[in-house]
């Protein structure tokens, strides 16, 4: 761990020499080849690249869902490699939110209950304020209201449209006011208009709550809305720069390489 990086107070995610090798058909397959990366707090970063370039693998490593073959990741000042599985879980509850391409709402729970899951996982302890029972439900409902789904709180996922599902997923992702939101192709299963609404919602949250957004996408239009685009190719960072379009948000990229 270099002193220089530790001293970089604004970087919320620091990756050093991230390498991930999978065994595929008995042969090692190097998906990520020593990636170095810093992402600053409140940044909106899009990770793009062709299929198989390692985008999702990188996302998994940054979020502490997977462990690198070599290298390390520090998130919000914690070395993820030093945490046990349970500590990682607790870490995710309190600081990280997720949005998936296929929404991944729990089909057996209503919209409201889906949003409540992270709150309850945190034991209602949200930023030192205990949020239980009625208060927790009110909180979840407020999030749904904000996503424009106040009247759909007691619907099951099957009863919702794709866009509605993704908005519930967003509300769930924000339930504990995470420091970072990871999104994996969040608009991949949505039509353009619906996708746009969802992204707008994410941008609002990024602005209002100061949440760092890291999203993996194929969608050039979506990537263009980010403050910074990291392009992967064959397991390496090919380019790392603001999108071609003008920056829309103040946060400038923290210098990487």
């Amino acid at each position: 761990m270099s002193e220089a990086l530790q001293s970089d107070a604004r970087a919320i995610i620091e990756a050093r020499g991230l390498t991930r090798i999978f065994m595929s058909g008995g042969r090692p397959l190097e998906v990520l080849k020593g990636i170095d990366l810093n992402i600053g707090a409140r940044e909106f970063v899009a990770v793009v690249g062709p299929s198989g370039s390692g985008k999702t693998t990188l996302l998994g490593l940054l979020a502490g869902l997977d462990r690198p073959t070599a290298g390390n990741v520090r998130v919000d000042g914690r070395d993820l490699g030093a945490l046990t599985e349970d500590e990682l879980a607790l870490f995710r509850v309190n600081r990280i939110g997720f949005v998936f391409q296929t929404f991944h709402l729990l089909p057996t729970l209503t919209a409201l209950e889906n949003v409540l899951v992270p709150v309850e996982l945190a034991g209602g302890n949200r930023g030192g304020v205990r949020l239980t029972g009625r208060a927790a439900r009110d909180h979840a409902r407020a999030l749904l209201d904000r996503a424009g789904l106040g009247d759909r709180a007691h619907h099951y996922p099957v009863q919702l449209s794709g866009g509605e599902r993704q908005r519930v997923a967003l509300a769930r992702a924000f339930a504990n006011r995470p420091r970072i939101l990871f999104a994996d192709e969040p608009t991949g299963n949505l039509d353009a208009d619906t996708g746009s609404t969802v992204v707008a919602l994410m941008e609002d949250l990024n602005r209002d709550a100061g949440t760092t957004l890291v999203l993996v996408t194929h969608d050039a239009e979506l990537a263009a809305r980010a403050g910074r685009v990291i392009r992967l190719g064959k397991g390496r960072v090919v380019s790392d720069a603001p999108p071609v379009r003008a920056e829309r948000f103040g946060a400038a990229p923290v210098s990487g390489q």
């Binding site: 999702t56 693998t57 998994g60 869902l65 997977d66 998936f100 991944h104 945190a122």
Partner: protein
């Protein structure tokens, strides 16, 4: 288990109930069977022990097969001098002849002294007759009145005396339903027994003295104080507690065996739960991964599904307890005849708790194995990434498998009547499970490899479905195969037992057994028989004997030895034998060692030769050349074992453990038994009348009547076994239905896909039919084969009968199973037929 896991489990439960509710039923059935049996046994034991003094009719009973010896009479007298009351009851078997109707019947005659029974009320019709039983009056079982077509005031001839029927005995507390079946009773005053002239030598009589002891004298103390006299005179003393224990023994035995059947049903339910949880958990992998992404720990997600499984087991058990209590209420009605007492049903808290715990526990341990997979689900799976399986063995898996093994073993040992039976049952279960799973896997693979490529598409696709990922082939084969096994064994056993019992079917069609024919009466009896019987009657002389010494060593010495492999079994030295003598080997016997004797009698100076039945020889630890000294009518007769015989005991025949060569026993006190065939009911009745008039001491057993009585009792017992087997099969069906239903979503998706690709409803239906027919056939074949093996083992090894497979019944069973499988499959609504493919595809995508 934190609050989060509880909450999530509670929320998911709604959906789980919808999908897995049917599996709760499989636990329900097993628990119901066990709770019903345990509570019922509890009822029986409680009822018997509550009335143990009434059931014995006294505080103690002295009993022997001979006249009560003077030394014992002296004990009774001294007890009476100390304030005890005594009443003698002499029982013997006799023919009863109704003078008016001319009908005859073998009855159990009881000479009763006033006072008996000391506890409990005897009810008579007309009332109050019991206390006035004296002189030449007789009270009879209602069955005697019906069978002999007599009523009060009629004359009944018993031996050489005539009695007037004073009424009927409606209820005797010492009565056991079972006893009445072997022969209805006639009661007379004790001082009249001698007048019947039936207490001759060789008659089957039982002499009892019932005692009411004054306060302060305990029956066990009496037994202890006079132990030596009682043992020397072979007089037994029975206390109410002993009596109650011996009465509960038979129901215990039945309950134990039925308990194993119930246990099998429960374990089947456990397999059902395991297979359901397996499918269920697999369907939830994504949800689990998402929960992990969101920050749930492994322990939390594991707890969520564990809680649901345990809750499922608990609810199933609650249902099982309720159903079990209902069954418990109806069991006594069904088998009232074979129960010693009126059984009052009550809810036993112990049985209820046992059922609840057991059902929940079984669901828990069987769910554990598939649930362990939950811990391995990586959050990465939510990101569409395959995660690498953790290498190495999971110690928790080994723990879970051990928990199942230990539970199964503990439960079988607990339920089985003996540790050996428990181990055998547990071993049998393991073998059956292994064979069925092996057959499912092996046959399925073989089918795939060798299935004709030229077969139609729908057939090939249907068979291929048996190996789809997450298929339930093994679970369904286990469930169905087990059901087929249980039902198959019962059908096969019943067929074979009935065949063995049937008199018409066998080579030996004898239906009249005459006993107590005295020396000198053989010819006269034979003359009467000649007018009625078909073929020559078989006459076998009979001499009672005991073992006095083995190879010169007195029995008392041998018995004093500590038990070991070398020492003969206790029963072989203590029992009273009935020997016969004859020159030739019978058809039902085969000499297996040594040689049968030729004619001419024993050589001068040589020991008398005997032939010993091989299993008795085994227990006596004797072989050819060993010497046995017999005590016959006070005379010691040394003999040498010249050969061993195997005897086919099946069927009604005059078979003996020990046969003497002729020329030894002829002059000793003996009686003869005669086996004859008298065709026609009327001829049998007339023959019996003629015989009773001529030879009142000779008893006749109408084997047809006995067989009917035995069949009646057997059918009651079989009915109970059938109910439990039915429960077991039902559990199998439920598990099968659940297993098939659990893959419904998958089949629906496939059906929708096939329809999108252009398949017609008919084709999809044919694919499903092929799958279910193959599945049903697989299970029926495996279970059927096991059933044949098991019933062959039981018939030949346990009952010692010949086995003939009832193939017609087996084929019917196969058809039924296939039909049930197809019906269940179609009813579970797989295939997506009936709905638009798009709708099905969309629903499946969620």
């Amino acid at each position: 288990m934190d609050r989060f896991s509880f909450r999530m489990a509670r929320r998911e439960w709604r959906a789980t109930l919808r999908r897995l509710g049917v599996y709760m039923t499989s636990i329900t059935i097993g628990v119901a069977a066990l709770v019903a049996l345990h509570s019922f046994r509890h009822d029986v034991v409680r009822s018997i022990h509550a009335e143990n003094r009434s059931l014995l009719g006294a505080d103690a009973r002295l009993g022997t097969n001979r006249e009560i010896p003077d030394s014992v009479t002296a004990i009774v007298d001294s007890l009476v001098a100390h304030g005890a009351d005594a009443a003698r009851v002499t029982g013997l078997v006799s023919m009863a002849l109704a003078e008016r109707s001319g009908l005859t019947r073998l009855v159990q005659l009881r000479g009763v002294e006033a006072g008996f029974p000391f506890y409990g009320e005897v009810t008579t019709d007309p009332p109050g007759m019991w206390g006035r039983l004296s002189g030449r009056n007789a009270l009879v079982d209602p069955a005697v009145m019906v069978q002999l077509a007599i009523g009060p005031g009629d004359t009944l001839r018993l031996g050489t005396a005539a009695f007037t029927v004073a009424g009927s005995v409606e209820g005797l507390p010492t009565d056991i339903g079972f006893q009445a079946a072997t022969g209805p009773r006639v009661f007379i005053a004790h001082d009249q027994v001698d007048d019947t002239g039936l207490l001759g030598l060789g008659s089957l009589s039982r002499h009892n003295v019932y005692l009411r002891l004054p306060p302060g004298i305990d029956p066990d103390e009496v037994e202890e104080a006079h132990e030596e006299v009682l043992r020397a005179t072979r007089v037994s003393l029975r206390t109410p507690e002993e009596h109650a224990r011996s009465l509960t023994r038979s129901t215990d035995f039945l309950a134990d065996f039925l308990g194993l059947v119930g246990l099998a049903a429960l374990l089947l339910g456990g397999i059902g739960v395991g297979s359901a949880v397996n499918v269920f958990v697999r369907a939830h992998f994504t949800s689990i991964a998402v929960l992990r992404c969101v920050g749930a720990t492994r322990r939390q997600v594991f707890s969520i599904y564990l809680l649901q499984s345990v809750w499922m087991g608990f609810l199933g058990s609650v249902g099982g307890v309720a159903l079990g209590l209902v069954v418990q209420r109806f069991l006594p009605l069904l088998i009232r005849d074979v129960l010693p007492v009126e059984v009052a049903t009550s809810v036993s808290a112990g049985s209820v708790a046992f059922g609840l715990f057991l059902g929940t526990w079984v669901a828990f341990i069987f769910a554990l194995l598939p649930l362990l997979e939950v811990r391995k689900v990586s959050p990465l799976q939510a990101l569409r990434l395959e995660s690498e399986a953790a290498p190495g063995k999971d110690p928790a898996r080994i723990l879970a498998v051990s928990a199942i093994a230990v539970t199964v073993l503990a439960l079988t040992l607990f339920e089985a009547p003996s540790p050996e039976a428990g181990l055998a049952f547990a071993g049998g279960l393991a073998v059956v499970t292994a064979v069925l799973s092996g057959v499912a896997l092996g046959l399925a693979r073989g089918t795939r490899r060798f299935f004709p490529r030229g077969a139609g598409y729908t057939l090939r696709q249907g068979v291929a479905n048996l190996f789809r990922p997450g298929n339930q082939t093994v679970a369904v084969t286990l469930a169905l195969g087990f059901g087929v096994l249980v039902v198959g064994v019962i059908v096969q056993l019943q067929r074979n037992l009935v065949r063995a019992l049937s008199l018409e079917g066998g080579a030996n069609s004898a239906n009249m057994l005459l006993f107590d024919v005295q020396p000198g009466q053989e010819e006269g009896v034979g003359a009467i028989l000649a007018g009625y019987s078909e073929g020559a009657p078989e006459i076998a002389p009979m001499v009672t004997a005991r073992v006095a010494a083995l190879n010169g060593r007195p029995v008392a010495d041998i018995l004093a030895d500590s038990a070991g492999d070398e020492r003969p079994e206790r029963w072989t030295l203590r029992r009273e034998y009935r020997h016969t003598y004859r020159a030739a080997v019978k058809d039902t016997e085969t000499v297996v060692a040594g040689e049968w004797w030729g004619g001419g009698g024993p050589a001068e100076g040589a020991l008398a030769r005997v032939s010993v039945e091989e299993e008795l020889a085994d227990d006596l630890r004797v072989g050819v050349g060993d010497e046995i000294t017999w005590l016959v009518a006070g005379i010691e007769i040394p003999t040498v074992v010249s050969n061993l015989r195997s005897v086919d005991w099946a069927g009604f025949d005059t078979n003996f453990f020990v046969v003497f060569e002729p020329g030894i026993l002829e002059e000793l006190p003996r009686t003869s038994i005669v086996l004859a065939t008298v065709p026609g009911e009327e001829a049998r009745a007339r023959f019996q009348q003629a015989l009773v008039r001529g030879y009142p001491n000779v008893s006749v057993l109408d084997l047809v009547t006995i067989r009917t009585a035995v069949e009646t009792i057997l059918s009651r017992v079989v009915a109970v076994i059938r109910i439990l087997a039915g429960l077991c099969a039902a559990a199998g069906l439920v598990v099968m239905a659940g297993s098939i239903a659990s893959t419904r979503a998958q089949r629906r998706r496939e059906g929708a896909l096939l329809r999108t690709l252009g398949a017609r409803f008919g084709q999809i239906r044919r694919i499903l039919m092929s799958e279910y027919v193959a599945l049903g056939t697989l299970a029926a074949l495996a279970g059927g084969a096991l059933a044949l093996v098991a019933s062959w083992l039981l018939t030949v090894q346990l009952f010692g009968l010949t086995f003939a497979p009832a193939l017609g019944a087996a084929a019917l069973l196969w058809l039924a199973v296939v039909a049930l499988t197809v019906l269940t499959g179609v009813a579970s609504g797989g295939g997506g037929a009936g709905s638009a493919p798009l709708k099905a595809l969309r629903a499946a995508a969620e």
